[in-house]
Symmetry: C2
Subunit: 101 residues, 2 copies
């Protein structure tokens, strides 16, 4: 499996609009096992995203899906900066979906 832990900092006041875009296309990404969007109790503009994919290639391919490309285009003006980002290698756990495509 392939995992990502990432932090976005939204333009002030745009966090919830950014979250709505991020959530909008999570249901139809082949190879996606988990995609969780969270706010940060310590910072009103921060968004945390944790992802689990079957393979790194599935994640890369998702970036070319028309719905994802449209969302990225809409989201970019709402993002002030990118914070820490980590790649991980998930090995198991609870709550991983079956691959949805």
């Amino acid at each position: 499996m392939y995992g990502l832990i990432g932090k976005f900092v939204a333009v002030a006041g745009q966090r919830d609009a950014l979250i709505a875009l991020l959530l909008d296309c999570t249901g139809a990404m082949p190879g996606c096992l988990s995609y969780v969007v969270a706010t940060d109790p310590k910072d009103a503009d921060t968004v945390w995203i944790t992802e689990v994919w079957t393979h790194e290639a599935s994640h890369k391919a998702s970036l070319n899906l028309p719905a994802v490309q449209a969302a990225i285009k809409q989201a970019m003006p709402l993002i002030a900066s990118f914070g820490e980002g980590m790649q991980t290698r998930p090995v198991g756990g609870y709550g991983l979906a079956s691959s949805n495509g």
Copy 2:
């Protein structure tokens, strides 16, 4: 929802034993929606854990479950240090289980 992103650094050579303990009790924690254990491609001793719970209280209560207390007792000697840890407020996404208890 209540989320945690945490990093453990295992005692050298003990990462996989630590992971086995972490995975062993993930199936029976009431209020747990996601619990993913991952290795780190950049560091052979690092373990990342990302968790989603219905409420902070569910997470706290899990620490008192006999199986979890036994796992913590076995795991502590395998942990060299605790790295970054973030609390998050998950708002949605894909792959969240139904609460299993």
